[in-house]
């Protein structure tokens, strides 16, 4: 399905209609326009939270061909050798268009950087080039039926065998496990007195014997979540990522990547973009509401941008990342209600209706995925008052 409005807007902006942007250096501006012009030539259905639900291997492969996956990874692993801020600009454009980026999202954001940081040379060469091409997809196995916010209480185990490891247990809310190649999996390898010790990360091939994947449909009826059962899955040593027992530290490193990205602010902006050009009234109420929404969006977007641009001191990053995730995901939800208010009394274009309805039902998950707002509140307060 084509979304003509987004395509049209993309074309206009890629053309001559751009107001000069003094805040952004010309090379980033060029990159931004390059992504827009690419998007305007693509056929896809726009989605809110497209980084969770828009799964398209062919679209991911297109992005891979253009060097827009694994952008910051070294070139000798198939990466782009580019800066975090360049990657940030590309992600912003993809998210704002609601483009289907979910297939490679978790490789680009989590599995890839983890392999780069903690993997062996063999693991890097085996996985990173294929991930950067948009041909090898990873999912993430962290939560379990009895371990959500309390992640350290996971019960899936990996036990030493003569030839490697035997994994057993159940992971849940694993997006796209039914069509990804890998699952970056947190397991317990040792029962330690300190709950945060004895955890380890594995790269589990999802075609391994003993794996059962059951679908969970989300509130919109979409299938991206799964329950993944590991029934005595035997893996070699090459499946261990990093150091056995260091899994908690490795995962915390990963969460820093995960929490400050533009997808914690921009998941629903595609709806607002459509609404602002849907012929709504320019009365006082609408203008003020749109203005307030845009001002806060500007601030949150800037916060995320600053983390990516390396302007923050290292010790300020974890706090800022938690603030962004907590405030950004709250904003993503409020934005949908603002869109509804802006449209009040108007007969709604079916495409706008579809985007709005999808976003409304997706809203509860914004402030849950990747750490609930309550967990983040504790992390923030602990950092402020310890």
């Amino acid at each position: 399905v084509v979304t003509p409005r987004v395509a049209e807007i993309g074309r206009e902006v890629a053309g001559s209609n751009v107001r000069s942007d003094v805040g952004e250096p010309p090379d980033l501006r060029r990159l931004r326009n390059e992504v827009r012009s690419f998007l305007s030539d693509q056929d896809y259905q726009s989605l809110p939270s497209s980084w969770m639900t828009g799964f398209s291997p062919s679209f991911s492969a297109e992005l891979g061909r253009r060097g827009w996956i694994g952008m910051t990874w070294p070139t000798h692993y198939g990466g782009g050798g580019r800066t975090a801020i360049e990657r940030h600009v590309v992600l912003e454009e993809l998210l704002a268009a609601g483009a289907p980026v979910a297939a490679h999202w978790f490789s680009d954001r989590q599995a890839g950087p983890q392999i780069l940081a903690f993997g062996t040379e063999e693991q890097r060469q085996r996985y990173l080039p294929a991930m950067a091409k948009g041909e090898l997809f990873s999912s993430v196995g962290m939560s379990e039926p009895d371990a959500g916010s309390d992640l350290a209480s996971i019960r899936t185990t990996a036990q030493r065998t003569r030839s490697g490891w035997r994994l057993s247990g159940t992971k849940i809310w694993t997006s796209h496990a039914h069509r990804a190649h890998l699952m970056l999996t947190l397991v317990r390898t040792e029962n330690a007195a300190n709950r945060h010790a004895g955890l380890s990360q594995f790269l589990v091939p999802l075609n391994a014997a003993g794996i059962t994947i059951r679908p969970i449909h989300d509130a919109n009826g979409q299938h991206h979540f799964n329950e993944v059962h590991l029934g005595d899955v035997c893996l070699g040593d090459e499946a261990l990522l990093g150091i056995a027992g260091q899994g908690w530290r490795q995962v915390m490193h990963e969460l820093e990547f995960e929490r400050s990205g533009p997808e914690r602010v921009l998941s629903t902006v595609v709806v607002l973009m459509h609404v602002l050009s849907a012929g709504i009234d320019k009365d006082r109420g609408n203008c003020e509401l749109a203005g307030r929404t845009l001002a806060r969006l500007r601030a949150l977007r800037r916060m995320s941008y600053r983390v990516a641009s390396g302007q923050l001191a290292d010790d300020a990053k974890p706090l800022t990342a938690s603030l962004i995730k907590r405030a950004g995901t709250t904003f993503e939800g409020e934005l949908i209600e603002s869109c509804r208010a802006l449209l009040a009394g108007k007969s709604m274009d079916p495409e706008v209706r579809r985007l709005l309805d999808t976003a409304l039902l997706d809203r509860p998950s914004h402030t849950l995925r990747g750490g609930t707002n309550e967990v983040l509140t504790n992390i923030i307060a602990r950092q402020l008052t310890q």
Binding site: A96, L276, I280, L289, A290, R296, R326, T385
Partner: protein
């Protein structure tokens, strides 16, 4: 530049700590404490920063607004931004209706892009117990933009002070046998205040480095909205003691609630932002980028 800014902030802080009142003003105090003001003028801080190094003047104003003393320091810096060639002395900046904070202390008023002589028509005190006077000179559009930016910077300084006070109090204050920082709902207040502080900082710093009309509008909308949210959370966290007139928190609240109305409140600036955005052929990301 970063080192220079830190040094300027430190110098400003030291002067306020050495020569300021060190407490909330009381009825009967002189409005502008003369010892402090003389030090500030002598140090050159009242002339800090031209339009080119706006960040310097912004740092002075941001630091000054953490302290309870009332001075026309921010007005003097703002006037220099607008009118770098003005003669030596303290400038004040009226809004479009001729209302100028600390107007009576001004040697000149900025209107139409230049320094002008003026008379004071009316003298009033505002919600923050700061003088707001009506002058014979009215301000211009650029004055309103940079004025809105200056108030946003000041609100940021006040909210920063408030956020730090909240963290200290939550660690010190014990109820039910433990420090209140360990109650989940209090943690929510702490997180909310830290969030609103960060929101204001993000847009204000962007506007300082590039004060387009859109940047200033966003800064003033966020400063007004987030400033009021921070006040409410800070008061709930502090309990009854935070409502006493001599408590610094009251003083910060009064200022934030008053400053947010200067040079257009968040309603007016939001209206303008929204009017630009609805039906525009620009993408949201571009509307927000400049």
């Amino acid at each position: 530049m970063t080192g220079e800014i830190a040094l300027i902030r430190q110098t400003t802080r030291e002067i306020f700590e050495r020569d300021g009142l060190g407490r909330a003003p009381r009825p009967g105090d002189e409005i502008v404490p003369q010892r402090l003001w003389k030090s500030l003028v002598a140090s050159g801080l009242a002339d800090a920063g031209s339009e080119e190094d706006r960040a310097i003047g912004a740092a002075v104003a941001r630091e000054a607004s953490r302290h309870p003393d009332r001075t026309p320091l921010a007005e003097a810096i703002l006037a220099r931004w607008l009118c770098p060639d003005a003669p030596p002395g303290i400038g004040v900046v009226p809004d479009a209706a001729g209302r100028a904070r600390y107007g009576r202390y001004g040697g000149y008023a900025v209107g139409g892009g230049r320094a002008r002589k003026f008379v004071v028509h009316e003298r009033l005190m505002d919600l923050a117990s700061e003088p707001v006077d009506t002058l014979s000179v009215a301000g211009d559009a650029r004055g309103s933009e940079l004025g809105a930016l200056m108030r946003s910077i000041q609100i940021l300084g006040a909210v920063e002070q408030m956020a730090e006070m909240c963290v200290r109090y939550a660690r010190e204050r014990e109820q039910f046998g433990r420090r209140i920082a360990d109650f989940q709902l209090v943690r929510t207040f702490l997180s909310d205040i830290a969030t609103e502080r960060a929101v204001i900082e993000a847009v204000v710093e962007q506007a300082i480095s590039s004060p387009s009309r859109c940047a200033v509008a966003a800064a003033k909308v966020c400063a007004g909205t987030s400033g009021a949210l921070a006040c409410a959370a800070a008061h709930q966290l502090h309990g009854a003691i935070g409502t006493a007139e001599e408590h610094l928190l009251v003083w910060l609240t009064r200022r934030i609630l008053s400053w947010r109305d200067d040079f257009g409140g968040e309603h007016e600036w939001a209206l303008e932002l929204g009017r630009t955005a609805i039906g525009s052929d620009q993408l949201i990301l571009d509307l927000l980028a400049d």
